[in-house]
Protein backbone atom coordinates (compact mmCIF):
# COMPACT_ATOMS: atom_id res chain seq x y z
CA UNK A 1 0.00 0.00 0.00
CA UNK A 2 1.48 3.35 -1.10
CA UNK A 3 2.11 5.82 1.66
CA UNK A 4 -0.45 8.62 1.84
CA UNK A 5 0.94 11.99 0.60
CA UNK A 6 0.54 15.10 2.66
CA UNK A 7 -1.29 18.12 1.06
CA UNK A 8 2.05 19.98 0.88
CA UNK A 9 3.70 17.09 -0.97
CA UNK A 10 0.76 16.89 -3.36
CA UNK A 11 1.05 20.57 -4.20
CA UNK A 12 4.76 20.20 -4.85
CA UNK A 13 4.12 17.33 -7.25
CA UNK A 14 1.43 19.33 -9.02
CA UNK A 15 3.73 22.39 -9.34
CA UNK A 16 6.53 20.23 -10.72
CA UNK A 17 4.18 18.66 -13.27
CA UNK A 18 2.90 22.06 -14.44
CA UNK A 19 6.44 23.44 -14.70
CA UNK A 20 7.52 20.43 -16.74
CA UNK A 21 4.56 20.89 -19.06
CA UNK A 22 5.41 24.56 -19.48
CA UNK A 23 9.02 23.78 -20.37
CA UNK A 24 7.97 21.19 -22.92
CA UNK A 25 5.44 23.57 -24.47
CA UNK A 26 8.01 26.40 -24.60
CA UNK A 27 10.57 24.17 -26.31
CA UNK A 28 7.99 23.09 -28.85
CA UNK A 29 6.70 26.52 -29.71
CA UNK A 30 9.71 28.84 -29.33
CA UNK A 31 10.86 30.59 -32.54
CA UNK A 32 14.30 29.06 -32.20
CA UNK A 33 12.86 25.62 -32.73
CA UNK A 34 11.17 26.50 -35.98
CA UNK A 35 12.85 25.17 -39.09
CA UNK A 36 14.55 27.74 -41.30
CA UNK A 37 11.98 29.28 -43.59
CA UNK A 38 14.43 30.30 -46.24
CA UNK A 39 13.32 33.93 -46.19
CA UNK A 40 16.00 36.27 -44.93
CA UNK A 41 16.44 40.00 -45.02
CA UNK A 42 17.92 40.83 -48.40
CA UNK A 43 21.42 42.17 -48.22
CA UNK A 44 22.32 45.08 -50.43
CA UNK A 45 24.24 43.92 -53.43
CA UNK A 46 27.78 44.86 -52.63
CA UNK A 47 30.79 44.57 -54.81
CA UNK A 48 28.98 42.74 -57.59
CA UNK A 49 29.13 44.34 -61.01
CA UNK A 50 26.08 46.44 -61.84
CA UNK A 51 23.48 44.64 -63.92
CA UNK A 52 23.51 45.58 -67.57
CA UNK A 53 20.10 47.05 -68.18
CA UNK A 54 18.96 48.72 -71.36
CA UNK A 55 15.60 49.59 -72.84
CA UNK A 56 14.81 47.67 -75.96
CA UNK A 57 13.92 50.88 -77.69
CA UNK A 58 17.39 52.27 -76.99
CA UNK A 59 19.08 49.47 -78.91
CA UNK A 60 19.85 50.03 -82.58
CA UNK A 61 17.11 48.35 -84.63
CA UNK A 62 19.56 45.82 -86.02
CA UNK A 63 20.54 44.68 -82.52
CA UNK A 64 17.06 44.32 -81.10
CA UNK A 65 16.14 40.72 -80.31
CA UNK A 66 12.94 39.38 -81.69
CA UNK A 67 10.37 39.42 -78.90
CA UNK A 68 7.15 37.51 -79.27
CA UNK A 69 4.46 38.85 -77.00
CA UNK A 70 1.16 37.29 -75.96
CA UNK A 71 -1.88 38.69 -77.72
CA UNK A 72 -2.84 42.11 -76.41
CA UNK A 73 0.59 42.89 -74.95
CA UNK A 74 2.76 45.79 -76.12
CA UNK A 75 6.37 46.72 -75.54
CA UNK A 76 6.99 49.49 -73.02
CA UNK A 77 8.66 52.43 -74.67
CA UNK A 78 10.55 53.30 -71.52
CA UNK A 79 8.63 56.53 -71.19
CA UNK A 80 6.04 57.35 -68.56
CA UNK A 81 3.43 54.72 -67.84
CA UNK A 82 0.09 55.24 -69.49
CA UNK A 83 -1.27 58.15 -67.56
CA UNK A 84 -4.75 56.90 -66.97
CA UNK A 85 -3.78 53.47 -65.68
CA UNK A 86 -0.97 54.71 -63.43
CA UNK A 87 -3.19 57.42 -62.08
CA UNK A 88 -6.02 55.08 -61.26
CA UNK A 89 -3.78 52.43 -59.79
CA UNK A 90 -2.18 54.85 -57.37
CA UNK A 91 -5.43 56.42 -56.30
CA UNK A 92 -4.33 59.84 -57.45
CA UNK A 93 -6.97 62.35 -58.36
CA UNK A 94 -6.75 65.51 -60.40
CA UNK A 95 -9.26 68.15 -59.45
CA UNK A 96 -10.37 70.92 -61.81
CA UNK A 97 -9.48 74.35 -60.50
CA UNK A 98 -11.86 77.33 -60.78
CA UNK A 99 -11.10 79.54 -63.75
CA UNK A 100 -10.25 82.63 -61.67
CA UNK A 101 -7.05 80.86 -60.51
CA UNK A 102 -5.92 80.05 -64.01
CA UNK A 103 -2.66 81.24 -65.53
CA UNK A 104 -1.25 82.68 -62.34
CA UNK A 105 1.63 81.46 -60.21
CA UNK A 106 1.85 82.48 -56.57
CA UNK A 107 5.41 82.06 -55.35
CA UNK A 108 5.98 80.91 -51.78
CA UNK A 109 8.22 78.65 -49.83
CA UNK A 110 6.72 75.19 -49.48
Amino acid sequence: MAPKRSPLEARLWLTAALAGGYVLAWLALSPGSAPPSGSTTPEPSVGAPPPQVVWLTELPPAERPVVVLPAGWTLDTGRLPAASTAFAAQGLRAVPVPSQHRARVRTRSS
Partner: protein
Protein backbone atom coordinates in the same frame (compact mmCIF):
# COMPACT_ATOMS: atom_id res chain seq x y z
CA UNK B 1 -6.20 73.64 -64.79
CA UNK B 2 -6.04 70.57 -62.55
CA UNK B 3 -4.47 70.05 -59.17
CA UNK B 4 -3.45 67.20 -56.89
CA UNK B 5 -1.38 66.74 -53.74
CA UNK B 6 2.15 65.39 -53.86
CA UNK B 7 5.43 65.91 -52.00
CA UNK B 8 3.56 67.58 -49.17
CA UNK B 9 2.15 70.35 -51.30
CA UNK B 10 -0.52 71.22 -53.84
CA UNK B 11 0.54 70.74 -57.45
CA UNK B 12 -1.29 72.57 -60.25
CA UNK B 13 -1.03 71.71 -63.94
CA UNK B 14 -2.37 73.98 -66.66
CA UNK B 15 -2.25 73.62 -70.41
CA UNK B 16 -4.67 76.31 -71.59
CA UNK B 17 -4.19 75.54 -75.27
CA UNK B 18 -5.72 72.07 -75.14
CA UNK B 19 -9.18 70.75 -74.39
CA UNK B 20 -10.12 69.93 -70.83
CA UNK B 21 -10.08 66.17 -71.39
CA UNK B 22 -6.58 66.25 -72.77
CA UNK B 23 -5.47 68.62 -70.03
CA UNK B 24 -6.74 66.17 -67.44
CA UNK B 25 -4.87 63.31 -69.11
CA UNK B 26 -1.69 65.39 -68.98
CA UNK B 27 -2.33 66.23 -65.33
CA UNK B 28 -2.71 62.55 -64.56
CA UNK B 29 0.64 61.81 -66.21
CA UNK B 30 2.27 64.58 -64.19
CA UNK B 31 0.71 63.20 -61.00
CA UNK B 32 2.05 59.74 -61.75
CA UNK B 33 5.50 61.24 -62.28
CA UNK B 34 5.35 63.08 -58.94
CA UNK B 35 4.26 59.92 -57.14
CA UNK B 36 7.10 57.90 -58.68
CA UNK B 37 9.65 60.55 -57.72
CA UNK B 38 8.33 60.78 -54.18
CA UNK B 39 8.48 57.03 -53.80
CA UNK B 40 12.11 57.05 -54.86
CA UNK B 41 13.40 60.12 -53.02
CA UNK B 42 11.30 60.61 -49.88
CA UNK B 43 13.18 60.35 -46.61
CA UNK B 44 9.86 59.76 -44.84
CA UNK B 45 9.03 56.53 -46.61
CA UNK B 46 10.83 53.50 -45.23
CA UNK B 47 10.61 51.72 -48.56
CA UNK B 48 11.88 54.60 -50.69
CA UNK B 49 15.14 53.96 -52.48
CA UNK B 50 16.72 56.84 -50.57
CA UNK B 51 15.85 55.20 -47.24
CA UNK B 52 17.34 51.90 -48.38
CA UNK B 53 20.64 53.58 -49.22
CA UNK B 54 21.08 54.90 -45.69
CA UNK B 55 22.93 53.00 -43.00
CA UNK B 56 24.79 50.58 -45.22
CA UNK B 57 28.24 49.39 -44.29
CA UNK B 58 29.40 49.08 -47.86
CA UNK B 59 28.64 50.73 -51.16
CA UNK B 60 25.31 49.81 -52.71
CA UNK B 61 24.06 49.86 -56.25
CA UNK B 62 21.48 52.54 -56.94
CA UNK B 63 19.05 53.21 -59.74
CA UNK B 64 20.14 55.42 -62.64
CA UNK B 65 17.67 58.05 -61.40
CA UNK B 66 19.16 58.20 -57.91
CA UNK B 67 22.68 58.09 -59.29
CA UNK B 68 21.89 60.99 -61.62
CA UNK B 69 20.39 62.99 -58.74
CA UNK B 70 23.49 62.39 -56.63
CA UNK B 71 25.74 63.53 -59.45
CA UNK B 72 23.67 66.66 -60.02
CA UNK B 73 23.71 67.35 -56.29
CA UNK B 74 27.49 67.08 -56.28
CA UNK B 75 27.60 69.69 -59.02
CA UNK B 76 25.35 72.02 -57.00
CA UNK B 77 27.48 71.54 -53.89
CA UNK B 78 30.51 72.66 -55.90
CA UNK B 79 28.57 75.53 -57.53
CA UNK B 80 27.53 76.91 -54.13
CA UNK B 81 30.79 76.18 -52.28
CA UNK B 82 28.94 73.74 -50.03
CA UNK B 83 26.13 76.06 -48.95
CA UNK B 84 23.69 73.81 -50.75
CA UNK B 85 24.29 70.42 -49.15
CA UNK B 86 21.77 67.54 -49.20
CA UNK B 87 23.62 65.84 -46.33
CA UNK B 88 21.74 67.91 -43.76
CA UNK B 89 19.01 65.30 -43.28
CA UNK B 90 20.46 64.29 -39.91
CA UNK B 91 20.50 67.90 -38.67
CA UNK B 92 16.91 68.35 -39.83
CA UNK B 93 15.82 65.25 -37.92
CA UNK B 94 17.79 66.35 -34.83
CA UNK B 95 15.85 69.60 -34.91
CA UNK B 96 12.56 67.74 -35.05
CA UNK B 97 11.87 67.51 -38.77
CA UNK B 98 11.71 63.73 -38.73
CA UNK B 99 8.26 63.26 -40.23
CA UNK B 100 6.17 64.95 -42.92
CA UNK B 101 5.52 68.56 -42.06
CA UNK B 102 2.14 69.81 -40.96
CA UNK B 103 1.44 72.89 -38.83
CA UNK B 104 2.05 71.90 -35.21
CA UNK B 105 2.99 68.32 -36.02
CA UNK B 106 6.70 68.81 -35.29
CA UNK B 107 6.30 70.88 -32.10
CA UNK B 108 7.94 69.30 -29.04
CA UNK B 109 9.03 70.30 -25.57
CA UNK B 110 12.48 68.71 -25.79
CA UNK B 111 15.30 70.69 -27.32
CA UNK B 112 17.24 69.74 -30.45
CA UNK B 113 18.95 66.38 -30.42
CA UNK B 114 22.56 65.92 -31.37
CA UNK B 115 23.75 65.06 -34.83
CA UNK B 116 27.18 64.48 -36.24
CA UNK B 117 28.46 67.00 -38.74
CA UNK B 118 27.75 65.59 -42.16
CA UNK B 119 28.77 66.86 -45.56
CA UNK B 120 27.90 65.71 -49.03
CA UNK B 121 31.58 65.75 -49.92
CA UNK B 122 31.93 62.62 -47.74
CA UNK B 123 29.51 60.70 -49.94
CA UNK B 124 31.37 58.38 -52.27
CA UNK B 125 29.78 58.08 -55.70
CA UNK B 126 31.15 55.62 -58.23
CA UNK B 127 29.39 56.62 -61.42
CA UNK B 128 31.06 53.91 -63.49
CA UNK B 129 29.90 51.12 -61.19
CA UNK B 130 26.63 52.80 -60.29
CA UNK B 131 27.30 52.59 -56.56
CA UNK B 132 27.15 55.00 -53.65
CA UNK B 133 28.45 54.83 -50.10
CA UNK B 134 27.19 57.05 -47.34
CA UNK B 135 28.99 57.52 -44.02
CA UNK B 136 26.77 56.65 -41.07
CA UNK B 137 26.44 60.33 -40.11
CA UNK B 138 25.03 61.27 -43.51
CA UNK B 139 21.28 61.42 -43.95
CA UNK B 140 20.33 62.83 -47.33
CA UNK B 141 17.49 65.25 -47.81
CA UNK B 142 17.21 66.42 -51.39
CA UNK B 143 14.23 68.53 -50.39
CA UNK B 144 13.29 71.12 -52.95
CA UNK B 145 15.91 70.00 -55.43
CA UNK B 146 13.90 66.93 -56.35
CA UNK B 147 10.65 68.86 -56.32
CA UNK B 148 12.18 71.33 -58.75
CA UNK B 149 13.58 68.56 -60.91
CA UNK B 150 10.19 66.86 -61.01
CA UNK B 151 8.62 70.12 -62.16
CA UNK B 152 11.23 70.32 -64.92
CA UNK B 153 10.51 66.79 -66.07
CA UNK B 154 6.77 67.31 -65.85
CA UNK B 155 6.98 70.46 -67.94
CA UNK B 156 8.71 68.47 -70.67
CA UNK B 157 5.55 66.37 -70.95
CA UNK B 158 3.34 69.37 -71.55
CA UNK B 159 2.60 71.42 -74.67
CA UNK B 160 3.23 75.15 -74.99
CA UNK B 161 1.83 77.18 -73.33
CA UNK B 162 1.59 75.38 -70.01
CA UNK B 163 2.79 75.45 -66.45
CA UNK B 164 3.43 73.10 -63.56
CA UNK B 165 3.27 74.71 -60.12
CA UNK B 166 4.29 72.63 -57.09
CA UNK B 167 3.58 74.87 -54.13
CA UNK B 168 5.35 77.86 -55.63
CA UNK B 169 8.09 75.96 -57.46
CA UNK B 170 6.95 76.28 -61.04
CA UNK B 171 7.96 75.88 -64.64
CA UNK B 172 6.20 78.14 -67.12
CA UNK B 173 6.39 77.23 -70.79
CA UNK B 174 5.66 79.76 -73.47
CA UNK B 175 4.23 83.22 -72.98
CA UNK B 176 1.05 82.39 -71.13
CA UNK B 177 -2.48 81.86 -72.39
CA UNK B 178 -2.71 85.31 -74.00
CA UNK B 179 0.85 85.59 -75.25
CA UNK B 180 1.80 88.42 -72.90
CA UNK B 181 3.56 86.30 -70.28
CA UNK B 182 2.59 84.34 -67.20
CA UNK B 183 1.54 86.37 -64.20
CA UNK B 184 3.76 85.60 -61.21
CA UNK B 185 2.84 87.01 -57.82
CA UNK B 186 5.58 87.07 -55.18
CA UNK B 187 4.05 86.46 -51.78
CA UNK B 188 4.85 88.76 -48.87
CA UNK B 189 6.63 86.52 -46.31
CA UNK B 190 5.15 88.56 -43.44
CA UNK B 191 1.57 88.29 -44.71
CA UNK B 192 0.66 85.36 -46.92
CA UNK B 193 -2.49 87.14 -48.04
CA UNK B 194 -0.51 89.98 -49.54
CA UNK B 195 1.33 90.13 -52.86
CA UNK B 196 4.64 91.93 -52.64
CA UNK B 197 5.34 92.30 -56.33
CA UNK B 198 3.78 91.04 -59.57
CA UNK B 199 5.83 90.04 -62.60
CA UNK B 200 5.36 88.90 -66.18
CA UNK B 201 7.45 85.86 -67.08
CA UNK B 202 8.04 83.85 -70.23
CA UNK B 203 9.72 80.43 -70.52
CA UNK B 204 11.22 80.46 -67.07
CA UNK B 205 11.23 78.40 -63.91
CA UNK B 206 10.79 79.85 -60.44
CA UNK B 207 11.41 78.69 -56.89
CA UNK B 208 11.20 80.37 -53.50
CA UNK B 209 12.97 79.77 -50.19
CA UNK B 210 11.73 81.25 -46.94
CA UNK B 211 11.55 80.04 -43.35
CA UNK B 212 8.08 81.47 -42.74
CA UNK B 213 5.91 78.46 -43.62
CA UNK B 214 7.82 75.35 -42.49
CA UNK B 215 8.40 76.48 -38.94
CA UNK B 216 7.87 74.67 -35.63
CA UNK B 217 8.78 74.80 -31.93
CA UNK B 218 11.62 72.75 -30.43
CA UNK B 219 12.39 73.15 -26.74
CA UNK B 220 10.61 76.49 -26.62
CA UNK B 221 12.55 77.91 -29.55
CA UNK B 222 11.49 78.37 -33.15
CA UNK B 223 13.07 76.14 -35.79
CA UNK B 224 12.75 75.98 -39.57
CA UNK B 225 13.76 73.70 -42.41
CA UNK B 226 16.55 75.73 -44.03
CA UNK B 227 19.66 74.24 -42.42
CA UNK B 228 23.00 76.02 -42.70
CA UNK B 229 25.46 73.18 -43.36
CA UNK B 230 28.25 75.23 -41.76
CA UNK B 231 26.52 75.16 -38.38
CA UNK B 232 24.15 72.21 -38.90
CA UNK B 233 21.44 74.45 -37.44
CA UNK B 234 18.54 76.41 -38.94
CA UNK B 235 20.04 79.31 -40.86
CA UNK B 236 20.10 82.78 -39.36
CA UNK B 237 19.88 85.24 -42.19
CA UNK B 238 18.93 88.82 -42.84
CA UNK B 239 17.00 87.59 -45.87
CA UNK B 240 13.38 86.68 -45.19
CA UNK B 241 12.59 85.25 -48.62
CA UNK B 242 14.30 84.62 -51.93
CA UNK B 243 12.44 84.04 -55.18
CA UNK B 244 14.67 82.93 -58.04
CA UNK B 245 13.95 82.68 -61.77
CA UNK B 246 16.25 80.35 -63.70
CA UNK B 247 16.44 78.00 -66.65
CA UNK B 248 15.22 75.10 -64.51
CA UNK B 249 13.23 74.80 -61.33
CA UNK B 250 15.92 72.60 -59.87
CA UNK B 251 18.57 75.28 -60.32
CA UNK B 252 16.16 77.94 -59.06
CA UNK B 253 15.60 75.90 -55.88
CA UNK B 254 19.31 75.47 -55.25
CA UNK B 255 20.10 79.14 -55.86
CA UNK B 256 17.19 80.33 -53.71
CA UNK B 257 18.18 78.17 -50.77
CA UNK B 258 21.82 79.19 -51.09
CA UNK B 259 20.98 82.89 -51.24
CA UNK B 260 18.76 82.66 -48.18
CA UNK B 261 21.35 80.79 -46.11
CA UNK B 262 24.13 83.19 -47.12
CA UNK B 263 22.16 86.39 -46.63
CA UNK B 264 23.82 89.79 -46.75
CA UNK B 265 25.48 90.97 -49.94
CA UNK B 266 26.32 87.38 -50.86
CA UNK B 267 22.63 86.64 -51.37
CA UNK B 268 22.58 89.01 -54.32
CA UNK B 269 25.98 87.82 -55.52
CA UNK B 270 24.89 84.20 -55.84
CA UNK B 271 21.97 85.18 -58.07
CA UNK B 272 24.25 87.21 -60.31
CA UNK B 273 26.97 84.55 -60.36
CA UNK B 274 24.48 81.89 -61.51
CA UNK B 275 22.91 84.28 -64.06
CA UNK B 276 19.60 84.04 -62.29
CA UNK B 277 17.12 86.79 -61.64
CA UNK B 278 14.88 87.14 -58.64
CA UNK B 279 13.36 89.03 -55.77
CA UNK B 280 15.18 89.30 -52.45
CA UNK B 281 13.10 90.25 -49.43
CA UNK B 282 15.11 91.46 -46.45
CA UNK B 283 14.01 90.86 -42.86
CA UNK B 284 12.73 94.39 -42.53
CA UNK B 285 10.40 93.95 -45.48
CA UNK B 286 12.44 95.88 -48.03
CA UNK B 287 12.74 93.99 -51.30
CA UNK B 288 15.03 94.28 -54.28
CA UNK B 289 14.59 92.96 -57.80
CA UNK B 290 17.74 91.35 -59.18
CA UNK B 291 18.29 90.87 -62.90
CA UNK B 292 16.07 91.40 -65.88
CA UNK B 293 12.47 90.98 -64.72
CA UNK B 294 9.31 92.63 -65.99
CA UNK B 295 7.67 94.15 -62.93
CA UNK B 296 4.02 95.03 -63.48
CA UNK B 297 3.03 95.94 -59.94
CA UNK B 298 4.44 96.42 -56.47
Amino acid sequence: MFSFRAMGTEVAVAAPGVESGEEETLARAVAALFEAQEQRFSRFRDDSELSLVHGGVDAVHVSPELLAALLRARGYVELTDGIFDPAIGGALAAHGYDRPFAPGALDRAAGPGSSLAAHFADVQIDAARGTVWLPLAVRLDFGGMIKGYTCDRAAALLPTPSFVDAGGDAVMRGAGPDGDGWLVEVEDPRDAERVLVSLRVRDRAVATSAPNRRRWQVGGASAHHLIDPRTQRPARSDVAQVTVFAESAELAEVVAKTALVLGGREARDVLERTRSSGVLVRSGGRFEVVGDLEVIGA
